[in-house]
Amino acid sequence: MAAHIAEKKGTFLEEVIEATPGGERLVHCLQCGSCGGSCPSGADMQYTPRTLIAMINANDRDAVLAANTMWACVSCYFCTSRCPQDIPITDIIYTLKRLSIAEKRYRDTDAPALAKTFTDFVDRYGRSFEFGLATGYHLLKRPISMMKMGPMGLQMFTRGRMALRPTKIRQIEQLQAIINKAKELSGSK
């Protein structure tokens, strides 16, 4: 297997393997299609997980990072649990999300913005809003979304299920020091 990887030096395949725990299993894909066939979001994907794996193995970096597959993925782990070759497909998709976000390769999706909004709250408060209700917190930026929520938003409020901002942890400086160190070590802002 080491030889396998050595041959792939400097390739996209190697990059994905390096960035994913257990990623070296990638090269063993049989193209059996169990992953794509199990995927609840398959119909909304440009490339199903099976195709995406083939594209990674073919080092088709640009097309992979611009694909919508990662943003349609709901992390249900069906593909991973059914893959006969133990390929950590869901984790590979997380790796692709990170690469795509870092290089701003994504198109036509709010997913990266949602992720950023969410983690900004964590960085600032140490706690977050309920991410299934993110629209509530986009109130100023996206009034339309809030209106679309309609009675649901109101009902959530009246039942005490929504707050205007997260609570703040006491040792927020400690958490921020940890996060800053992580960003420094991983070379991102």
Binding site: P21, P40, S41, D44, A72, V74, S75, C76, Y77, T80, S81, T90, Y94, K97, R98, I101, T109, D110, A111, P112, A115, F118, T119, F121, V122, R127, S128, F129, E130, F131, G132, L133, A134, T135, G150, P151, M152, Q155, M156, R159, G160, R161, M162, A163, P166, T167, I169, R170, Q171, Q174, L175, I178, I179, N180, K181, A182, K183, L185, S186, S188
Partner: protein, 294 residues
């Protein structure tokens, strides 16, 4: 039985009913929960989408805050459970990565020894540790005649082995049957509800939610019982939006398994957070269980 307790952000607000019922039921079953002091959000799936090291460092702070005398942590939220378990496992399996996570923790004066704390989901603690006899012993108001559909979702049953079948889990089925309920066996009980997809693509998300509601309804269920705040929000909170979108007329209450335990144990429904659900559960409960529950 003593556990560090990690409620997670959802349980502070949106899923307060889950938090209240977990605490009530744990009290009664002799499960001692010690909330982790000053815990932080686990970052859901959103930190992992951006920075793996930061994701794990944020999560590991919670593991590091577990008191030295305690070696197990319990989380009721499926996503929190997975994040805590996954981070610990990554640190154990990849010592170099574990060291990096600890370098981050050190910046905050903390340290976590990989593998020190075992991460558990609330359902596993009640089914595996408390067990059938002790649960049955506490039942004073059997849920006889009530048809319930257990809904497992994804994050607990598939990614990490929790001693159940990842495709066709049974633990919640067993638990609900110990309470005397009629457990509905339906095909999609471990399918996906779409997670945060409601925020990204409504048509795609609503279709996943519709399939679950439809399938449970086809099997004549009175209510769906879940074990994750996100699942509850999607199926309950978004149910009227889904109805509007497809012209369907679903009216299925979506409750937490701990709320059902509490009802069977005779606890006041108010203390269990009943009434916080958008599709109200009381009418069908009172009709099926006979008379007033309060």
């Amino acid at each position: 039985m003593k556990f560090a307790y990690y409620p997670g952000c959802s349980l502070e607000r949106n899923a307060a009913a889950y938090d209240h019922s977990v605490r009530e039921v744990s009290d009664l079953l002799g499960i001692k929960l010690q909330e982790i002091d000053d815990w932080n959000c686990c970052g859901a799936t959103e930190y992992f989408s951006q920075n793996e090291l930061a994701a794990c460092a944020v999560i590991a702070r919670n593991l590091a805050l577990v008191e030295p005398q305690t070696d197990q942590i319990v989380a009721p939220c499926a996503a929190c459970y997975l994040n805590l378990a996954k981070t610990d496992k990554l640190m154990v399996d990849h010592p170099e990565f574990g060291k990096e996570v600890n370098q981050c923790l050190a910046a905050g004066g903390l340290k976590y020894e990989p593998g020190r704390v075992t991460v558990r989901h609330m359902l596993d603690v009640i089914v595996d540790d408390v067990g059938e006899t002790a649960v049955r012993d506490k039942v004073v108001r059997p849920l006889a005649g009530l048809r319930v559909a257990p809904y497992y979702g994804c994050q607990v049953v598939r990614p990490i082995d929790n001693n159940d079948n990842p495709e066709y889990p049974m633990k919640m089925d067993h638990l609900l049957s110990w309470l005397g309920a009629e457990v509905v066996d339906y095909p999609v009980k471990a399918h996906c509800c779409g997670g945060h997809l409601t925020q990204i693509s409504e048509p795609q998300a609503f279709e996943l939610i519709r399939r679950l509601l439809q399938n449970a309804q086809d099997y004549n269920t009175d209510m769906i019982i879940c074990m994750c705040p996100m699942c509850q929000l999607n199926l309950d909170g978004y149910q009227s939006r889904v109805n509007g979108f497809f012209g369907t007329e679903f009216k299925l209450p979506i409750m937490y398994f701990t709320q059902m335990l509490g009802i069977a144990f005779g606890i006041d429904p108010q203390k269990l957070g009943f009434g916080k659900e958008l599709v109200t559960a009381m009418p069908v409960l009172e009709a099926k269980l006979g008379g007033q529950l309060v």
